[in-house]
């Protein structure tokens, strides 16, 4: 009886609450609609302005799905019309260069190949702020992690700028840590009853030791000076890089773009950020559709995204790890680079060639194995990224790069 009661209690407690994962795709399928996604930010730079169009795709499905064949016009309140043309699927550029002007309102009109007509509410420049300085500092963040902070200082001569959004593009130099100027190759010759493998090294055809990678920011970084009396932004941190982040190992550059945008755009990005921030099981975020300022004229389908007009200022800064952390260890590399030496061949009725397989998988030759252990071959290999930086970036510096 005692046992029975115990069994019963445990049974009840374990069955009391049950959290099981559901198939999101199945749930979402019935509600799925391939709404148009519009990404349009007309700036005050004189350039060919860009509008991106794509479609919503299934959760966990393949995307993005570029939207081709649409007609796009940006219309200004002084009756100027700027036509756009598709330069690659989903990417539309203005036929002529133009820049957003102060006190002029703009709106967008899109008609898609399936006859959806979409327009936006009007948007205009909301002041201009000058990015006076972008600078770096070795310090600690609020979690007490050591690293490098990228700060900005900005000032607003117009006195109108309130809402700021930052994006950045960071470029960093990569030096492959286990680099050899030689590559290991092999040839296999098949005979009637046996095969023969020959390994040999050749000088590399291209430089794979020093590369440069450029990555745009994905985070939504927002700031506002509402509630502050001065129109200056002082020491606002746009980026923190941990000292253990590989990308600052050698030379690092960041191009910070500061957009001055409307309240509408600001709130749109705030919502987007809140909804996409990783949610714990305890935090509550009210999900829902984030309204932008775009709507369909001839259907009741929703339009995702926002059309905005903003002023922009950009500034670049460089630093070297060695200057900030003199004499200190480099951050760990992207991946462990311990050399390994696969056997050249496993003889037998069906011989295998572990070394050849490893080469085929992109592993790089590093050096001859001078201390051969059992089950080892005579060449030390390293993971691809350790001996070939082109896995991560280009082997030539970008145009703007300054050493």
């Amino acid at each position: 009886m005692k046992k029975l009661i115990m069994y019963m209690t445990v049974f009840i407690l374990t069955s009391i609450s049950c959290v099981e994962e559901l198939n999101v795709l199945e749930l979402s399928e019935s509600g799925f609609e391939d709404f148009l996604v519009v990404e349009a930010n007309i700036t005050d730079e004189m350039k060919t302005q860009v509008v991106l169009l794509s479609r919503v795709y299934q959760l966990g499905g393949d995307g993005p799905l570029p939207e081709s064949g649409a007609l796009i016009q940006v219309i200004s309140s002084n009756n100027e019309t700027y036509d756009f043309q598709e330069v690659e699927p989903g990417k539309y550029e203005s036929v002529t260069q133009f820049s957003a002007q102060n006190d002029i309102k703009y709106k967008i009109e899109i008609s898609t190949s399936n006859n959806e007509t979409i327009t936006s509410s009007e948007s205009q420049l909301e002041g201009k702020s000058v990015l006076d300085d972008v600078y770096f500092e070795r310090n600690f963040n609020e979690n007490n992690d050591e690293g490098v902070s990228i700060f900005i200082n900005a000032s607003d001569p117009t006195g109108k700028a309130k809402y700021y959004r930052y994006t950045y593009e960071e470029t960093y130099k990569i030096i492959a840590p286990k680099y050899s100027s030689l590559d290991l190759h092999y040839t296999i010759t098949y005979y009637d009853t046996y095969s023969e493998i020959v390994y040999f090294t050749l000088p590399k055809e291209e430089q794979q030791q020093i590369c440069y990678n450029t990555v745009p920011s994905q985070d939504i970084i927002l700031n506002s000076n509402v509630g502050f009396s001065q129109q200056e932004i002082d020491s606002y941190r746009v980026r923190f890089l941990s000292r253990y982040n590989t990308i600052i190992s050698h030379r690092y550059s960041i191009l910070v773009s500061q957009y001055v945008q409307s309240l509408e755009a600001q709130r749109y990005y705030e919502n987007l950020r809140n909804l996409s921030t990783s949610e714990g099981i305890l935090s509550q975020t009210q999900p829902g559709f984030v309204n932008g300022n775009l709507f369909s004229i001839n259907t009741d389908r929703k339009v995702v995204g926002i059309f905005q007009v903003s002023s922009v200022d950009k500034r670049r800064v460089y630093f070297n790890y060695a200057d900030l952390f003199p004499g200190e260890d480099l951050p760990p590399y992207f991946q462990s680079c311990t050399p390994f030496a696969p056997l050249e061949a496993n003889p037998g009725f069906f011989p295998t060639y572990p070394l050849a397989d490893a080469i085929d998988q992109g592993n790089k030759y590093f050096q001859p194995n001078e201390d051969i252990m059992p089950e080892e071959g005579s060449y030390d290999l390293v993971a691809p990224i350790c001996g070939n930086c082109t896995v991560m970036g280009n082997n030539y510096p970008p145009d703007f790069w300054e050493e």
Binding site: E33, G60, S224, R267, S276, L282
Partner: protein, 915 residues
């Protein structure tokens, strides 16, 4: 009467023959029973006796007769009994008390000839239509009627005692109704009345007892004893009596009363008898889902219910995700739920009042109740402190799961926690006839693991102090002081250096002074004043241990004072029409210390539009709101058992909960109205028709209501509520509307009993604004989180015998609305999830069947305890009812989870006993 006389005439005629047939016999009886005497006579004569054996009794008789006629012998034999006889031919008919007369009495003549002497008249019982209680319908027969006696008056005497204590009661008037004869009891409770033979109604009367009447037929001297109940108990009896037709008689609409004794037979959840579970099986009261906190009453939000336990507000009346209610069923007297018209004395919540009263302790003898179930044990003890005046009740309920989990080998369960307990103490003391006081204290605590690395705990603490005073027959006062606290905390102990503890608590103290003035039978007033102080600690977030890198965060406390005055009048215009009208005026002040943000005028509130932060000192008034509330209800009887009712009321509420219902954990917090968040308001109209059938055996009611709401708190898309320092930027206030029709049929007695309820209701919200971010679903009405159009429940009992019964419980509800992620898109180089419109989808419908089997121990009065076994199977169909579907973004990927409770049939066996 006419029938009786006809028979009488026939008999008179026959009597003559009978007497001529009388023949003398010899007989000898030695300590013989009457039956033996009769058998002897039958053996010696042709007489045949007609009687009921049970009349004969144990009387013994001795005597010798030689050549005596049977009637002489019978006169002797039956002298000491209440039996009479009548001889007709060779038949002897025995009668009890009554004599059969062979002449029509010549009353008039008798009076004329002998005026001085009161003539004896034979006693005939008239079959009256008796409207009193059933027990009085059959008159008691006193003494044995004698046919030939000179005595004209008989002495009826007896004692009057207290029913409960057995003490004699002095100065109780005992009178024969309508006869002008009466006396009163002496100090021993003794009385005597000299009455002519005949039918009387004896009535007792005294100031402090319930009046009692007994119908008697006087044949001879005899004893009539009364036992009376004190008057204060009479009131409750009157209530119970009135309960039978309460459905149709109650003046206000939408009131539900649950008597705890009556719910014993419905199937239990894990062996727990649960008042709240009964409540949600009635129309108009629902929960968002199994295992969710709170109740949605008539399309209202869960924060709009004032749940009172002995007048103190209880904020989370549930255990274990709401699977059990935190109200101990053994200590609970009854529950009144006002979902339509809320009496004016209550306020501060929009949708309903749950008035739960703990029963008074037994002041006469030690008693108790024990229940042993698979999850909990429950013990309630009642101890008299001052006999008949004061008593104390102590009740406690707890799970045993704590030690079971700890003793398990299974690693995954060993470190988990799942336990709760609650305890209640009530002391009641009747100081004198005009004063009584009561003190109650209550505490409940829950603690369980919600994930493998977090523990969630919460508690309720209540204290209530009440003093009732009677100034005179017409004026009474009650003063109540209550305090209650609700608190929850979460401890997270994970693998990284982010272990934290999160705490939340709110506290309220209320002083209420209420007066009753009974102007007349037809008009009663209730008026008074109440003041409530709220204190909320919206949250602290702190590192759980030294290794944790979490930075401490303390949210500023909130304080508010709500004061109200109320007046209501229950007025009976005539037998058919009655009104209940009330007014309530409340004024609310949001008090410092605190910081209040001001935002740009005409812009949506957000950190982007923050203009200034203003600081306020302690008790400085930051903002005030006030409101006048009307409560009006009328009832009209179309027939005795058929009434119609209508009501209107409006309500104000100064406190809101913050809940998006999107996670597994119930971390709802409360927020006071402040500069930026206005009080919520509602108004309701309701009409209903109520009919009882077959002497109140069946009750049928149909009610329809419509409600509108203002300033209902909802959330912007992307809102994060927990530990948010500027909540006003995340919330929206909008309009709401709900309407519905509720049908209930109830069978109160019989082999089959129970009820069937069906509700069709809708509840919708509208959040419109000129700003896109403040507009939800394009500014159109959309279903609220708790909008569940169809709600059906049936609770049925089948009483097989007095001791065995079966019960069944069916419930069905439309699944609640939910917002789903419906797709992915790329924007600015990153992937984002696209969500549907707010509450565009619904989770699957909910249905469940439970069955129960009850076995009651025997009902012998002298047995030490009454026992009761219950075997229930919860969710017989094993339906996997999801109570929530929620989404978590993990490493950029969205995942959907469904949580459900008891997806399998759960059998439980519970044993109760009561002494």
């Amino acid at each position: 009467m006419r029938v009786f006389l006809t028979l009488f005439t026939c008999l008179s005629f026959l009597r003559i023959n009978a007497q001529e047939a009388a023949k003398p016999i010899d007989a000898e009886f030695e300590n013989a029973t009457i039956e033996e005497v009769i058998l002897e006579i039958e053996s010696k004569t042709n007489y045949r006796f007609y009687f009921l054996k049970e009349w004969l009794g144990d009387t013994r008789f001795s005597g010798n007769y030689t050549k005596e006629t049977v009637d002489v012998i019978l006169d002797d034999v039956l002298k000491e009994t209440v039996l009479n006889y009548y001889i007709m031919d060779e038949k002897v008919i025995l009668t009890r008390n009554q004599a059969i007369h062979d002449e029509i009495p010549e009353t008039n003549e008798a009076i004329a000839t002998d005026f001085e002497e009161e003539t004896r008249a034979p006693v005939f019982i008239e079959k009256e239509v008796v409207e009193e209680e059933a027990e009085e319908a059959v008159p008691e027969l006193i003494g044995k009627e004698e046919t030939n006696t000179k005595q004209t008056k008989y002495r009826i005497s007896g004692y009057v005692k207290d029913t409960d204590t057995g003490a004699p009661m002095a100065n109780v008037a005992v009178s024969a109704r309508g006869k002008g004869i009466g006396t009163s009891t002496d100090s021993n409770g003794y009385y005597e009345l000299d009455l002519l033979p005949g039918t009387y109604t004896l009535v007792t009367n005294s100031l402090n007892t319930r009046s009692k009447q007994r119908k008697i037929v006087v044949y001879n001297n005899g004893e009539v004893n009364f036992s009376l109940k004190e008057k204060f108990e009479r009131l409750s009896e009157v209530l119970i009596q009135a309960d039978a037709d309460r459905n149709v008689k109650e003046v206000i609409t939408g009131v539900t009363k649950i008597e705890v004794e009556g719910i014993k037979n419905i199937p239990l959840v894990l062996g727990e008898r649960d008042i709240m579970k009964v409540a949600i099986s009635l129309p108009g009261i629902a929960t968002t889902g199994e295992g969710s906190n709170g109740y949605n009453v008539r399309g209202g939000k869960t924060d709009q219910n004032l749940i009172l336990l002995d007048e103190a507000a209880i904020y989370n009346p549930s255990h274990f995700f709401g699977i059990f209610s935190a109200i101990n069923p053994f200590t609970t007297g009854d529950v009144a739920i006002y979902k339509g018209n809320i009496p004016a004395e209550y306020g501060g919540r929009l949708s309903s009042v749950f008035d739960i009263t703990t029963k008074d302790a037994n002041t006469e003898k030690f008693s108790g109740e024990v229940s042993v179930g698979p999850v909990t044990g429950n013990v309630v003890l009642e101890l008299p402190v001052v006999k008949d005046k004061a008593g104390i009740m102590v009740g406690g309920r707890s799970t045993y799961s704590g030690w079971i989990l700890r003793s398990l080998d299974e690693e995954s369960l060993k470190n988990s926690e799942a336990s709760f307990y609650d305890a209640i103490v009530k002391y009641n003391h009747k100081l004198d006839d005009n004063n009584d006081i009561r003190v109650s204290a209550y505490y409940s605590k829950d603690r369980f693991s919600i994930t493998s690395d977090s523990i969630y705990g919460y508690s309720n603490r209540l204290a209530s102090l009440g003093w009732n005073h009677k100034f005179n027959e017409k004026n009474r006062a009650a003063i109540t002081l209550t305090n209650s606290e609700y608190q929850f905390d979460i401890e997270y102990d994970g693998d990284f250096n982010n272990d934290f503890a999160l705490d939340y608590s709110n506290d309220e103290t209320e002083l209420k002074l209420k007066f009753n003035y009974d102007q007349s039978e037809r008009s009663q007033y209730t008026y008074g004043i109440a003041s409530k102080l709220y204190n909320i600690s919206p949250g602290t977030f702190k590192p759980l241990n030294d290794d944790s890198d979490i930075e401490r965060l303390d949210l500023a406390k909130e304080k508010g004072l709500e004061t109200s005055v109320f007046l209501s009048n229950n007025f009976e215009v005539n037998e058919k029409l009655a009104f209940d009208a009330g007014l309530r005026y409340s004024i609310y002040a949001f008090l410092g210390p605190g910081i209040q943000n001001t935002y740009e005028e005409g812009q949506p509130r957000s950190e982007s539009t923050l203009v200034e932060s203003e600081e306020f000192g302690n008790n400085e008034i930051i903002e005030t709101y006030n409101g006048l509330e009307g409560r009006f209800s009328a009832r009209y009887f179309l027939k005795d058992d058929f009434s119609i009712k209508a009501s209107y009321n409006n309500t104000f509420q100064y406190i809101h909960t913050l809940s998006t219902n999107t996670t597994v954990s119930p971390t709802d917090t409360w927020k006071l109205s402040d500069k930026n968040i206005k009080p919520q308001r509602a108004q309701q109209i309701a009409i209903g028709a109520y009919k009882n059938f077959e002497d109140n055996m069946y009750e049928v009611s149909l009610e329809a209501y419509g409600k509108t709401y203002n300033n209902i708190l909802d959330y912007k898309v992307g809102a994060q509520l927990l530990l948010n320092e500027s909540l006003e930027t995340e919330v929206l206030q909008g309009e709401g509307r709900s309407y519905g029709i509720e049908f209930l049929i109830k069978k109160n007695r019989g082999v089959w009993n129970g009820w069937i309820g069906y509700t069709y209701s809708r509840s919708e919200l509208k959040l419109d604004s000129e700003f896109a971010e403040e507009r939800i679903n394009n500014g159109n009405y959309f279903p609220a989180n708790y909008d569940k159009p169809h709600d059906f429940s049936a609770v049925l009992n089948y009483q097989l015998t007095k001791r065995f019964s079966f019960s069944g419980n069916i419930s069905y509800q439309t699944g609640r609305p939910i917002t789903y992620p419906i797709g992915t898109y790329q924007f600015n180089g990153a992937e984002y999830t696209l969500y549907s419109d707010r509450n565009q989808f619904r989770i699957p419908d909910y249905y469940r069947l439970d069955v129960g089997f009850n076995y009651e121990g025997n009902h012998k009065i002298k047995k030490f305890a009454h026992s009761f076994w219950n075997l229930s199977i919860y969710n017989v169909l094993g339906r996997n009812n999801p109570y929530s579907v929620f989404f978590v973004t993990e490493e950029g990927e969205i995942k959907a989870f469904q949580s459900s409770i008891f997806a399998i049939p759960v059998p439980t066996l519970t044993f109760n006993f009561k002494f």
